[in-house]
Amino acid sequence: MSGMQKYFKLGLMSASMSLPMEIMLEIFARLPVQTLGCCRCVCKSWHSLVAEPFFINKHLLHRSISDRDNGSSSHVILQCGHRKSRSFFYYSLCCLETLAETKRYQFPDLTKYGKYFSRFRLVGSSNGLLCLLDLNIVLPDTFCDVVLWNPSIGKFKMLPTSQIESRPVDKALGFGFVPHINDYKVVRLVYRLESIQPEVEVYSLSTDSWRKMTTNFKDCRVFHPSSSPLVNGAVHWKAYNWGRGSESSDRQQWFIMSFHMMDEIFQEISLPVAINFGAGSILAFRDSLAFFTCSDIWVMTDYGVVDSWTKQYSLRDAIEFSFGLMSNGEVLLIKSNSNLVYYDLKIHEHRKLKGQPFARVHGMFIYKESLALLNEGEAINIQSDQVAEVRA
């Protein structure tokens, strides 16, 4: 048999044996994003097939089902500072079980879009998309300050300019995927000097526009720590109530503010314990809301029911920390002082993580890859020498 004939016989898709499209879709849905990138290059029909919105949804759905069934190891994405420069970040994808770095990403260079002095901070991760907020407040008013980014396919999107005109003093952001409508949403709370009430606007990726919304906020201030966990379809921030006087206890003053991404409703949830200023952090733990107070982890077993807060874990020693993350397996990852600490809740052992990429972590989130933004986003070309420089 000549070489040519051999090749003719080999292919599953060659003229004599061609698999129907619905089978190809089934196969594609089981592939990781990177292999799908290769598949797109195989032929033109595959190229368009992978980019179909219904396939992107199918792929996402299949990934979440197989993740749930196999309990596959989850990945965490870390925003890390560079050794040499303070304003330079790289993004490291690590396996939570083994803590091995699997990939490194470079955030797109936005200087050609006129963004020179940006300080982007990783504030959210949902279904393959990362949400970054520019904390540089001294901005010309027309600049966008939120960027959505899909690192696994190298596409990003700068969100349009906010509808809120005046310059903000402070801002809080929530980001998440809304399964019912297959859409990503960003909610932004903007605080200004003139008033204590925030202005609120909501962005949705499908319409690609901001929409202002009216709120019934009382005098409270939402604090935006490094994360606003998405639980039960709502994002959560820690909030402080100004209106209630100092005679009331701390317990009433600090609470959790939630924003339901689908219904677009704000709601207050009481904390399990009284906390001091700034201490404690809201986490997501197995689809439940959790609260970590340096020494205890409280879990709200029944979402929205204040009485269902239960103390699930107690740490052997209290750990001062600035932000944390909880995986589905009983692992707590916290940033304490300048170190990242890995805490195994089953055997109550913790250890400091040393060396790159754990040395200068500024933000961390659970990450799951997807094909989101494949059609909408702008492509970035990462220069290989830039990556090499980071590794050096």
């Binding site: 040519m4 898709m13 089978i23 089934e26 089981r30 990177q34 292999t35 290769c38 290059c41």
Partner: protein
């Protein structure tokens, strides 16, 4: 139902005329056959066109195993699946077509997973060889721009 057959048994006839006696519970793992049985348009012999005896035997073996081992550990079944689908390209192709045509969901899932494993992490070149036959592809398209495009983005 013919009297010589036990209750709840069906006869499947492959495209090359061979007949298989199969318990109904096993046969109805194929949605297509299930629909036929439910609509009562099945006589005691169900023809399975497009599927030859060799492939039909494999499909039946798969269904039998899945029917028996419902209570068994899921991991055992998974090992069986991955061993079962580990076959040459041609048998794989025939099995996929049969599973798709007869609508046997479990088998189709296992087969698709197997093909996905085959190309997971492979380069564009490898995927082309696997699926299209590289030279065939070259002859059909002779599209060099396409190649340049690929190498730029993903390799």
């Amino acid at each position: 139902m013919s009297s010589s057959l036990e209750k709840n048994m069906l006869i499947l006839r492959s495209s090359d005329g061979e007949e298989f006696i199969v318990p109904e519970v096993v046969a109805v793992m194929s949605k297509a056959i299930k629909n036929m049985v439910e609509d009562e348009c099945a006589s005691n012999t169900i023809p399975v066109p497009n599927v030859d005896a060799n492939i039909l035997a494999m499909v039946i073996e798969f269904c039998k195993k899945h029917d028996e081992s419902e209570a068994e550990a899921a991991s055992d079944l998974k090992t069986f699946d991955s061993e079962f689908v580990n076959r040459g390209q041609e048998a794989l192709y025939d099995l996929i077509t049969a599973a798709n045509f007869r609508d046997v969901k479990e088998l189709l899932d296992a087969l698709c997973q197997n093909v996905a494993e085959m190309i997971k992490g492979k380069s564009v070149h490898h995927i082309r060889i696997q699926f299209l036959g590289y030279q065939l592809f070259e002859i059909l398209t002779s599209n060099f721009i396409w190649n340049i495009w690929c190498d730029r983005d993903f390799d």
